[in-house]
């Protein structure tokens, strides 16, 4: 039952999506001038950030399972 309570808190993760998109777009806009390269760079940055978050999640999940 307690495992299900974890998913009740997951909705807060949705707050990270606009942040990730905004950070990626602004960072890409400081590296390029044209729209095409900006969108490509931003997409790549979004994937990197999400991948990093998943890696951290897996590490924390594994650590918490062993406690």
């Amino acid at each position: 039952m307690n495992d299900w309570l974890v998913f009740a808190e997951v909705y807060r993760l949705w707050y990270s999506l606009p942040l990730i998109v905004t950070v990626s777009l602004v960072y890409a806009a400081t590296r390029h001038e044209d729209l095409g390269p900006i969108l490509k760079h931003a997409t790549r940055t979004i994937v990197w950030i999400l991948a990093f978050m998943v890696i951290v999640f897996v590490i924390l999940y594994v650590l918490s399972e062993r406690l």
Partner: protein, 159 residues
């Protein structure tokens, strides 16, 4: 600008429009405002509110009162945290990130995109225009480098 101001306003509203204030009192040092400040004019009314003892207007961006009615009674900042709980922190984070992103934009406006070719780079000997992200130059702008006594035209590219 849309991204940064949008993030700032979203965070500001998420925290009940109370997360942006400047305070340096003991017990309430508002470190996040050091990041929020860089958003610019949208965050600067907090500085004006701090300069006066009584809040101006309807208390827009004013710091909370730390006065307690009793020994165990919560002060206003405690009430804000109780009322908005996690959204207060989330709004603070949003507004802080908006300010930090604006520092990036300030650097971009001042010095151009990171990694672009500097304007003082040596001219290329070919007849084509040199393309850069900013500050495109033409052959008229190029200043030829002095050549050695036995150096022929076109050897610049090899050396």
């Amino acid at each position: 600008m849309v991204c940064i101001v949008g993030t700032f306003l979203f965070g500001w509203d998420l925290g009940g429009q109370k997360v942006v204030y400047a305070s340096w009192r003991s017990g309430d040092r508002r470190w996040p405002y050091l990041c929020q400040f860089w958003v610019g004019i949208p965050a600067w009314p907090a500085l004006v509110q701090t300069a006066f003892d009584q809040p101006l207007g309807d208390g827009f961006m004013r710091p909370p009162s730390l006065a307690r009615t009793g020994n165990d009674a919560p002060h206003e900042l405690d009430m804000w945290h109780q009322q908005y709980h996690s959204r207060f922190e989330m709004g603070t984070v949003f507004t802080m990130i908006a300010g930090l992103l604006n520092i990036l934009v300030i650097f971009d406006a001042a010095a151009g995109p990171v990694g672009s070719s500097p304007l003082s780079s040596p001219p290329q000997p070919s007849g084509k225009k040199r393309k850069g992200s900013r500050g495109d130059t033409t052959d008229e702008d190029a200043v030829p480098e002095p050549r050695g006594p036995g150096q022929a035209v076109g050897e610049d590219a090899k050396t």
